[in-house]
């Protein structure tokens, strides 16, 4: 029996990741323990100040705000994306590839361009306002752009395809006989969905949510453009430390904390997925 696995095939990927991801991350980690020079730059004396500053109420509140916006975006994206994935999985098999293609089509255009498109839609002289006014409404409309909602809309829009793909995978693999069995045993459509289909697709939901959350919490482009710079998310704060405040050590400390949160979540998600699929294996 030949049990030799071609592990050496992983070496190019490992070398790439080590050189361009692990080493830079370690450098950033190291930077977090040094002092900022008066004029920017780094003084090589050890300090814990930067890490302590991350927990300062001001910066902690920015973390919480970012987590709130990312969490809200994640929940909305999951609700909308799951419904879409459900519909696609229920469509005739030959149409599914086409529908999936449409779902990911926006990815083919540039992220910035898609975000600017929202500015064109939402601004006070923009398309939505013009249409509403053309329909005869002449009162003052609420501010649409440069609000927290605009940031959430932008994040949901940009990351929705991830959720659709993540939820579509388990939904399309569901054996239709399981749902039939549930109905034969007297379960209504809603009960079948809630007690049978939903639990079996939790890994897809978890993956989709974590994807949106992780990508959103570190995002700095969308809050800058759709939030009009009025919502400082953690990504913007890190950006400012590196590019305007020239405080690399504090920026590094913030980055490390953010990476730790992301890694924690991804680990949890992996566990959840493992457990769910493990449980299914035991049942079968």
């Amino acid at each position: 029996m030949n049990d030799r696995k071609p592990i050496y095939l992983m070496s190019p990927a490992l070398a790439w990741l080590t050189a361009f991801m692990v080493i830079p991350c370690l450098l950033i980690l190291a930077l977090a323990f040094f002092r900022r020079g008066i004029y920017g730059g780094v003084e090589y004396t050890f300090t814990m100040e930067n890490l302590a500053l991350v927990f300062d109420p001001l910066y902690a509140s920015i973390f919480l705000k970012s987590a709130w916006i990312a969490g809200l975006s994640g929940v909305i994206a999951v609700v909308v994306g799951y419904a879409a994935a459900f519909a696609i999985a229920a469509a005739p098999a030959r149409r599914q590839p086409m529908l999936l293609f449409f779902a990911v089509l926006p990815f083919w255009s540039n992220y910035l361009v898609r975000t600017y498109a929202w500015i064109v839609l939402l601004n006070r002289e923009g398309l939505i306002v013009s249409v509403v006014q053309a329909l005869g409404y002449d009162g003052e409309l609420p501010k649409l752009l440069y609000t927290e909602s605009a940031v959430v809309v932008g994040l949901v829009y940009n990351y929705l395809p991830f959720v659709i793909l993540a939820c579509y995978a388990p939904l399309s693999r569901l054996n239709p006989e399981i749902a039939e069995a549930s109905r034969d045993l007297g379960g209504s459509g809603w009960t079948t969905f809630r007690r049978v289909i939903l639990p079996m697709t939790v890994p897809g939901i978890a993956t989709g949510f974590v994807f949106v959350f992780v990508l959103s919490i570190g995002n700095f482009v969308t809050p800058a453009l759709l939030g009009g710079g009025q919502f400082q998310m953690i990504g913007n704060l890190i950006y400012a430390q590196f590019l305007t405040a020239n405080d690399w050590p504090f920026g590094a400390a913030l980055s490390m904390f953010l990476i730790a949160i992301m890694m924690g979540l991804l680990t949890l998600q992996t566990f959840a997925t493992e457990r769910a699929s493990g449980a299914r294996r035991e049942e079968s």
Binding site: K143, G228, G229, T244, N246
Partner: protein, 349 residues
């Protein structure tokens, strides 16, 4: 500061005032903001000097400073930076002490431009452009012309939600300092706290913070009153004559963008020749005429037509008026308090 040009002006051929004699500009590296000098300036310089100078671009002062500090000033010969950053380069010992004999055209500078507070006598920096920060507005949409910083910070109900402010630390805070009658380089914590509270209140009435597209928001009517650098207000004025620029009664800051030769330069003669080339009235005047920023070059400014100044009134501000405003200076260690204050303002609800 952070600039770009909305449209690339048609390249015009530059006057070549460079005296003959082939200088080796081999490998000369110049860093400037995108669109902040004639598109063919470096080519013309190379043609005149027989060299091979290269232009690289930076988006912000902080970006080029990060590179210079990391490389200890190596790899660049001439950099364009705002004056507080020129001061930092000098304090770090990275700026070359300027030998005026190698820059004959330095005599074109206004006398006032040789007495700037950050560097009297131009010992380590040569001013390239200067101007003010004030209010840029749609005179056809506002009920009355603004004349105070408070018109921006606590706008009338009719203007509320239609204003923008600069987001860059120094200028955002300067608006508050000026409104309160403080120095634009104030470092007192209590005063910084007052300004923070004022700017947090102002934030509630803002459409957005905007450093890059505020004039476009005025043109579209999305904003009616914006916090602006005079040169960038001119881009709005060029598209809509109802857009006007004013300096509030409490005053402005005087910002100065400078050219600094680096001590580590291995092409110093060529670097001097380049600075001299830029100070040629025709070359320097190109910037005033096409980039719409004032330059501290007397013959270049004198050559601007009356029609041009009538279209862009702030181009007519003389050096005496400019010197009446306080220059932004390097605040050293207080920069960290500035950054924190700005974070507090941006994180406030």
């Amino acid at each position: 500061m952070f600039r770009h040009l909305p449209k690339t002006p048609t390249a015009i051929s530059l006057g070549l005032a460079l005296s003959a004699g082939a200088l080796s500009a081999e490998g000369l590296v110049i860093s400037n903001w995108d669109g902040y000098m004639a598109p063919d300036a470096v080519d013309s310089f190379n043609a005149a000097s027989g060299g091979n100078a290269e232009l690289v671009l930076h988006g912000t002062n902080e970006e080029i400073m990060g590179k210079l500090i990391a490389s200890k000033g190596k790899g660049y010969d001439v950099v364009f930076v705002s004056s507080p950053f020129a001061e930092v380069l000098n304090n770090l010992g990275l700026a070359e002490t300027i030998d005026h004999a190698k820059i004959p055209n330095i005599s074109n500078l206004y006398e006032q431009a040789t007495k700037l507070e950050h560097d009297p006598g131009n010992t380590f920096s040569v001013p390239y452009a200067w101007g003010t920060t004030g209010l840029c507005y749609r005179s056809d949409l506002l009920a009355e012309d603004p004349d105070s910083w408070m018109d921006l910070l606590a706008p009338d109900a009719s203007v509320s939600g239609k204003t923008t402010m600069l987001a860059t630390d120094r200028w955002l805070l300067a608006a508050g300092f000026l409104a309160k009658g403080y120095s634009v380089n104030e470092t007192d914590e209590a005063k910084l706290g007052e300004v923070r509270d004022l700017l947090i209140d102002a934030k509630k009435t803002l459409l957005a913070y905007d450093d890059a597209t505020f004039y476009a928001k005025l043109v579209s009517g999305e904003a009616e009153l914006v916090h602006a650098w005079d040169g960038w207000c001119n881009y709005g004025i060029a598209e809509n004559a109802e857009i006007k620029y004013t300096i509030p009664s409490e005053g402005s800051d005087l910002w100065v963008d400078t050219m600094v030769i680096l001590k580590g330069s291995e092409n110093k003669d060529a670097a001097y020749a380049f600075v001299d080339f830029i100070l040629d009235p025709q070359n320097h005047g190109w910037a005033a005429e096409n980039i719409l920023y004032k330059v501290p070059n007397e013959p270049a400014m004198a050559a601007l037509s009356a029609d041009f100044i009538a279209s862009f009134p702030n181009m007519g501000m003389g050096p005496d008026q400019l010197l009446g405003y306080e220059q932004l200076r390097d605040v050293g260690e207080a920069q960290r308090a500035y950054s924190r204050t700005v974070s507090e303002i941006k994180a406030a609800n």
